[in-house]
Symmetry: C2
Subunit: 333 residues, 2 copies
């Protein structure tokens, strides 16, 4: 028998999640059955989208069940294998995060070839957040020559990749983030203009100053006043990729009211929401681009790492306090 500690959703958060919404539970894993493997997780990810799954609301992914382990991306090592497709020591990727170990049919995990990269990269720049950045900027916003690009949440796991892809392709990029550390990180990855939104009283004025001729692409991670500023600064035919609106995920009562949406009419702006999992058809194209950029040393990334399953809820809560720069991860073993 193997002991695994896992994080259950104990109660549904109202507003900003708190530690008491989560519970750590020890479970004993039986030996895996025929065709199954046992995996010890080495890394798990916490991502803002998980907040939505904590509500009892039908959305693009089903709500987390109360009293059960939550799900999310994880990297682990096979410790027992009853299937010929995987052997002990193999690295695998799964959606069985939020736990130290698990049994699963061999077909329910994906063998991971890291191409020499650190494995946790596949929870970040080379994984879902990286692909979200790539799809949103290149496919949804349909970046084209000469576009001025504005990215909110620009120091995060997704935003920092958006900034760098746009810079690689020769664009002027304005990023917004909160606090001096993030501002410094954004400058270090080549962001032309950085707005510290926590230091600005008038975000629209700050954006107009950073992009005096306006913006053509907005990559939306934050929502709220950022959306109003982007609409105000948009040039005709601007394209907005709506990836997330983290400022609104914990809203209780009324959400922020976007006042400038009317500008989308006169300026022929396109706003397009998207979920990366609907775009897996472009996975080969993404991997080709991204592996080339990473091995060519053209992309930088940052990780904020907490250790131990017991600290996973706290790592998740940091996302909403803006306490991570780059990818927020939990190292499990």
């Amino acid at each position: 028998m193997t002991t695994s500690r896992e994080i259950h959703l104990k109660s549904r958060p109202v507003g900003t999640p708190v530690a008491a919404n989560f519970e750590m539970v020890s479970v004993e894993l039986a030996a895996p059955g025929p065709g199954e493997v046992q995996v010890r997780n080495t890394w798990m990810t916490v991502d803002p989208y998980m907040r939505g799954r904590m509500n009892d609301v039908k959305s693009y992914s089903p709500p987390f069940a109360l009293g059960e382990a939550m799900q999310g991306g994880a990297i682990g090592e096979v410790t027992v294998s009853n299937d010929p497709s995987l052997k002990v020591g193999d690295l695998v990727q799964s959606m069985n995060g939020w736990r130290e170990a698990f049994n699963a049919p061999a077909g329910a995990v994906q063998k991971l070839d890291t191409f020499g990269l650190p494995p946790q990269t596949f929870l970040g720049i080379a994984g879902m957040p990286g692909m979200t950045a790539w799809v949103g900027l290149l496919k949804i916003a349909a970046l084209k020559d000469g576009d001025v690009v504005f990215v909110s949440g620009a120091a995060g796991a997704v935003g920092s990749v958006v900034v760098q892809i746009a810079k690689l392709k020769g664009h002027k990029v304005i990023g917004s983030a909160g606090g001096a550390d993030k501002v410094a990180f954004l400058k270090s990855i080549g962001c032309d203009e950085v707005i510290d939104y926590k230091a600005e009283k008038d975000l629209t004025a700050a954006l107009m100053k950073a992009a005096p001729t306006g913006i053509d692409v907005y990559f939306e991670n934050v929502g709220g006043a950022h959306m109003d500023a982007a609409l105000a600064a948009a040039r005709p035919f601007a394209r907005f990729a709506l990836c997330g609106m983290i400022s609104q995920y914990n809203a209780t009562g009324d959400m922020y009211g976007v006042k400038n949406l009317i500008m989308a009419v006169g300026k022929s702006i396109r706003l397009q929401g998207f979920i990366v999992s609907n775009h897996f058809d472009v996975l080969p194209e993404f991997l080709k681009d991204m592996s080339g950029w990473i091995t060519g040393g053209k992309l930088k990334w940052k990780e904020t790492v907490d250790e131990g399953i017991e600290n996973a809820p706290g790592a998740f809560l940091k996302l909403f306090k803006g306490e991570n720069t780059g990818k927020m991860l939990v190292k499990l073993s």
Copy 2:
């Protein structure tokens, strides 16, 4: 010399325009010069978009100048011609509305072949409003089989055409409008479900009831609470054509704040603003469809007609009180 009365913008409206913002002025027209024609207008249009041109704000069309005649679509008859391309009695279309008569180079007016239709049709269903409906529904929202369609301002010049094109193509259509007359008109043109928004306390609940499985296309003419309701009722991958937001055109101070925009992320909704004048490449396709439908008796339209240039400002003001059903027109002679 010919006397023409014309409507000048006397002062820029703050909020809802009032009669005092306009001034009727008599001018004497000289004989037209070489290559010019003199035209007596028979019809002029008033449209909601003109409100935007009354502000001193750079937009897709320049602001109206104070102390000068405003512009807008008009149909007229050539009364003097100094150019071989036009003869006395020819019907012509121009942007020289808001006046009884004018001189212009022959090339600045378009000869109108009515194909047996009433000439004023070319200010409505067969003109800019009809083309706006066609472009917005078929090109911007990219209507496809099985879509459930929601149209706000559905009894207006644009909305009533959207409703009918969607019905011609076999769709379920929900229309919103204000008051019993408009509701009756919408039922007469085949709208499946009609929401009298003035009689509803909760527009979202009314829309959910009218479209229990959700909407795939929203044709936006009204803005405000209509946008929030459409976002709430939208199915995944819904497409919104943003044509106008008449409820917000006269806002002073803060606009209505749209609270549900975050739903565009999880539902992968596309919101696309558009201006019909950027889509003249599809004019032949529009005219082919529309002439076929009109001559086939498949489209109905309604006009609200005021008479006399002195009543043009009043006709314009009716648009914002919802006092028109179908196309609002001014008959000039």
